[in-house]
């Protein structure tokens, strides 16, 4: 099998052609999957709203407010029924053990936590991933609690939250994310 000689022009032309064809193919696939990817992300968010908010009849994506607290900006989504706000979903995040933990927290209008859904996490399987409802009922201890009188930190730090065994860092991060969401909610309520 005779290969092409490695002259300068041969190499330049070959690399140019290879990258050209590759990028054209990638652009084509990108265009093709653009819509389904957006749909999948939207679907994920809608699913999260259905979990964290009480029954609503509007589209929370259209009732979005950006609230800045200190250095961070939070997205708040209002869930309404018959024109009345029945719940507020707050997107929040914090640094966990394996990476960022992204949550959507649903609050009732009185400021108490309704439900929490985990959007993204990289916590250890079998330990830190107990923050997921599908893995354990640890996260149910927050439901119905109002952070005004429920201290969002683990018992070891003087709070009211039972940490996950062997996953204190994850539990702390989860509480921190909830606290941030609550702060954003309070700031948003004032505005």
């Amino acid at each position: 099998m005779s290969r092409k000689e490695s002259t300068f022009s041969n190499m330049v032309v070959t690399l140019f052609l290879v990258t050209l064809v590759s990028s054209a193919a990638l652009g084509f696939i990108y265009e093709l999957t653009k819509k389904p990817i957006e749909d999948a992300l939207l679907n994920k968010r809608t699913l999260a709203f259905n979990i964290v908010l009480p029954e609503f009849d509007n589209d929370p994506v259209n009732e979005m407010y950006r609230i800045a607290v200190e250095k961070d900006t939070f997205s708040l989504y209002l869930g309404k029924k018959d024109g009345k706000t029945v719940g507020i979903a707050v997107e929040t995040a914090s640094q966990g053990y394996g990476g960022e933990i992204k949550l959507i927290v649903g609050f009732l209008p009185d400021g108490s936590i309704n439900e929490v859904a985990v959007l993204e996490h990289k916590e250890t399987a079998g330990l830190g991933d107990k923050i997921l409802k599908s893995k354990s009922d640890w996260s149910t201890q927050f439901e119905g609690k109002n952070p005004e009188d429920f201290k969002l930190s683990v018992t070891r730090d003087g709070g009211n939250v039972d940490a996950i065994t062997a996953s204190t860092i994850t539990s702390r991060a989860y509480c921190e994310a909830l606290q941030k969401a609550y702060n954003a909610l309070i700031t948003g309520g004032e505005q």
């Binding site: 992300l41 399987a125 997921l132």
Partner: protein
Amino acid sequence: MSQWKNFTKGFIKENPVFVLFLGLCPTLGTTNSAINGIGMGLATTFVLVMSNLVVSLIARLIPDKVRIPSYIVIIASFVTIVDLIMKAFLNNPGPNFEPSLYDQLGIFIPLIVVNCIVLGRAEAFASKNSVMTSLIDGFGIGMGFTFALLLLGSVREILGSGSIFNIKFIQGDGILLFVSPPGAFLALGFLIMLMNKLSRKIS
């Protein structure tokens, strides 16, 4: 070598994980459940088959000194395609908002680019063999890899979570060690031992 032998060599004789010890990073990283193992294996198989096909087609046209960069560009393109497709169609969370397959495999999908099985097959096999032979080789090695990941994922899920394919058969936790990274090394070590014993018996 017959094409059938060419296909089956990936399972026992030249299994990338148990015999060649290639691609151990995704092997250890993604196999905390059987379904993750299959997902990772199939994604890698797709990249292997496609890159073997393209490399065997154009190997003759590529000057020797730039062959590695060219192969990497080809492989990276297919990996990005897999990533986009999985992000679009395997990205639906479960009914209780369990993370989707795409979210669970996470960073390991883009990392197929640097999986040495893929570049290894392109450089050592596809660039020297005909299109058909390379295609079958890619598929065989890919399925062998999937088989290894499925085996390791099943063992770790059964011991670590007390379930198989997300179906629980014991209450509560299993031996948590096996879902964490050290357990991956342990389980893989014992599997390699068993595979060695098995392949010696066969030959």
